[in-house]
Amino acid sequence: MAFTLYSLIQTAILCTNAVAVLHEERFLSKFGWGVDQGVGGFGDDPGVKAQILTLIRSVRTVMRVPLIIVNTVCIVLLLLFG
């Protein structure tokens, strides 16, 4: 199991891409994980499901533009250097 730092970067990019392509209307709503079903209680205990939904939504909002840049760079580098 020889992991390198490069494989860690690859894993991070792939996982972030995977979270970014989860579409709200077409996919998450079917599971009951849409926008309107997330924020339920306003107490001090959001619960695990609300935390996951908040995390997914925030990753999609924040990482959309940087992911475009990083993916373009990766594609160009892989095309040039294999």
Binding site: A2, F3, T4, L5, S7, L8, D45, V48, Q51, L55
Partner: protein, 300 residues
């Protein structure tokens, strides 16, 4: 009973910290000179004068003196800029807290990592809202032991691979990066699970890094005893160290993650406390798994 035990260390810490110039002095001045800062300045002045004298004897040219002064001022400006920018990314002052250790602390902590069963009081004592430096409290996490244990683990892994005739210098780098990647992934997983369970704790990322690094001590003990005495000794010592790290992590994390009532041992109902208990158990249970995973290929 716990409150009186922690009040005594607080008073003791207050007295001992008054010995330094201010509360933020983490390191003792062991330079052997009575007035520390004064000696530093006079040494600097003597150094500058010596450089000035040698410059005059080499090139008694005012232009070169000017150039030398300008170059040194540029260098100091550059160093200031680097320091300022580096401090923005890596909190150097916070890191210094984790390296403020001394020999007594390291000895006690290593003993605690291998035999945590007799230790009574696991609370970290505070000093006006900030945790006390590790040299004053054996329960405080530090980064010195994990860093040294990591480097020692890489060297011992190289030694173990050498006994199997599999050693090459690149292999050291491969081992180092592999162990580093597992460490980073473990810290990220713990951070993610702490976020999901919404635990209000004062555990910082560096604290989690320190706790994840403590298992390297057990791994080193296991691998060294396996090299010296063979496979049964490796399994026995690894089992002992795994149990010790498990108990150590549970007792340390219990005070930080669980609520006050649950930490004192009383039964507390509620799904949130149950979730926190599962989280503590899984963090502590992941340590023996990692210890076995990262060392079994070294002993054949």
């Amino acid at each position: 009973m716990d409150y009186t035990a922690t009040q005594k260390p607080n008073m003791h810490m207050g007295n001992s910290s008054m010995d330094g110039t201010d509360g933020s002095q983490l390191f003792e001045d062991t330079s052997g000179v009575a007035a520390g800062p004064q000696a530093g300045y006079s040494n600097q002045q003597a150094g500058l004068q010596a450089a000035g004298f040698s410059g005059q004897s080499l090139l008694s040219d005012p232009m070169s003196n000017l150039a030398m002064a300008y170059g040194s001022s540029l260098a100091s400006q550059g160093r200031e800029m680097v320091d300022k920018n580096l401090d923005r990314f890596i909190p150097i002052s916070k890191l210094k807290y984790y390296f403020a250790v001394d020999t007594v602390y390291v000895g006690k902590k290593l003993g605690l990592l291998v035999f945590p069963y007799m230790h009574e009081n696991w609370e970290v004592s505070y000093q006006q809202d900030t945790p006390v430096a590790p040299r004053f409290d054996v329960n405080a996490p530090d980064l010195y032991i994990p860093a040294m244990a990591f480097i020692t683990y890489i060297l011992v892994a190289g030694l173990a691979l050498g006994t199997q005739n599999k050693f090459s210098p690149e292999l050291l780098g491969v081992q180092a990066s592999s162990a580093l990647v597992w460490l980073i992934m473990e810290v990220l997983a713990v951070l993610l699970s702490l976020y999901l369970v919404t635990v209000n704790t004062d555990l910082t990322t560096i604290d989690l890094l320190a706790f994840s690094g403590y298992k390297y001590v057990g791994m080193i003990v296991g691998v060294v005893s396996g090299l010296l005495f063979g496979r049964p000794a490796y399994y026995l010592s690894l089992l002992w160290c795994c149990a010790a790290i498990f108990v150590f992590m549970i007792r340390t994390l219990r005070l930080k993650l669980l609520s006050e009532a649950a930490a004192e041992g009383r039964q507390v109902r509620g799904s949130r406390n149950q979730l926190r208990m599962y989280l503590t158990m899984s963090i502590a249970g992941a340590q023996p798994l990692f210890m076995f995973w990262l060392t079994y290929h070294l002993i054949r």
